[in-house]
């Protein structure tokens, strides 16, 4: 179980570091990502805590709460990545278009 926990923590931290430092995030997005990271980090270390928190929110099982948080965080990350990719795509289009027009020639 310890190995599984270490592996999950490693994956979670790796994802957090890559995401947090490679993409420009807005303050709200940064807060959600940090909240998601630390919440999942604590729940991996202490799974029984998730039951208590879930109970507090009236969800029942801690594992359900983890799934809900994960879905929320992953969906947000997906949207952030989509917007980031779209911005890059638009920039590439602009560059390629300008280069094309600049070098246009009449045969």
């Amino acid at each position: 179980m310890i190995i599984v926990k270490i592996f999950l923590l490693f994956l979670l931290t790796l994802g957090f570091v890559i995401f947090g430092f490679s993409i420009k995030l807005k303050n709200f997005q940064r807060l959600v990502v940090i909240f998601g990271y630390f919440t999942l980090f604590i729940f991996i270390i202490n799974p029984s805590l998730s039951d208590k928190v879930a109970h507090f929110f009236g969800i029942g099982l801690g594992s359900s709460l983890v799934i809900y948080i994960t879905i929320g965080v992953i969906s947000l990350l997906n949207i952030i990545l989509f917007v980031d990719t779209k911005m890059n795509k638009d920039a590439i289009t602009k560059i390629v278009r300008e280069m094309g027009i600049e070098h246009a020639k009449k045969i």
């Binding site: 795509k89 390629v96 094309g100 070098h103 045969i107």
Partner: protein, 224 residues
């Protein structure tokens, strides 16, 4: 320089582009011809080096919508007012251009080709009904009822600087209908002939691609 240009977005059309351009030049010697090579990986670029043609190259493949927008921006900078979008695969009929341009210059902002008012030679049954069904989708998304909503043959008055295509790939066809509504453009449909050959069918959009185009269009609208 002429105020009218025929725009040809080109991607891997080495087999047909020369023949298409030579026919257009013979029939419309007064029109400018602008070819945008959209990152072809075959010999299309060299095949398109035909005297009198404007040749623009995208160093990477962006998509047909992006190629058309590049040609529009270039045409605007050259003070060209009227354009015809024409496929490089030989699907479109050069004889249709004359009437489209005449109609456009009579006071329309855009003249849309309709293969269902004209002819769709060798069109597959499935494709035919899928295209007809797409009119319903276009109607619900724009409120404009057309007999053929995804026809690449069209004449456009590009003097409105807000006529900008943002969809790089095939969803630009739907985007044009959106722009007609947004910019309150005066439009009309005219019959045209689309010739489906084995070559053009191989290169054309499959039904599964069409579903991807619809998704691309919806995402484009949501993220506009």
């Amino acid at each position: 320089m002429s105020d009218t240009a025929i725009i040809i977005p080109m991607y891997n059309e080495e087999l047909t582009i020369k023949e298409v351009v030579l026919e257009l030049q013979a029939k419309y010697p007064d029109f400018e011809i602008i070819i945008v090579d959209d990152g072809s990986t075959d010999n299309s670029y060299n095949q398109a080096k035909i005297k009198g043609v404007w040749l623009i190259k995208h160093i990477v493949n962006l998509g047909q919508g992006a190629a058309i927008q590049t040609a529009i921006e270039f045409a605007m900078r050259k003070n060209i007012k009227y354009i015809i979008t024409f496929d490089g695969d030989g699907q479109h009929n050069a004889d249709d251009i004359k009437e489209f341009i005449q109609t456009l210059k009579s006071g329309y902002d855009i003249v849309l080709g309709s293969r269902f008012l004209g002819k769709a030679e060798n069109i597959g049954v499935l494709k035919k009904y899928f295209l007809k069904l797409s009119r319903v989708f276009t109607f619900f998304s724009t409120g404009i009822w057309l007999t053929d909503s995804h026809n690449g043959f069209r004449a456009i008055n590009i003097s409105n600087p807000n006529f900008i295509l943002r969809e790089n790939r095939m969803a630009h066809a739907s985007e044009i209908i959106d722009l007609i509504k947004e910019l309150n453009m005066k439009y009309i449909e005219k019959p045209c002939t689309i010739r489906y050959t084995n070559y053009s069918l191989q290169k054309g959009q499959s039904i599964s691609n069409a579903i991807g185009i619809i998704i691309e269009y919806i995402i484009g609208r949501l993220t506009k």
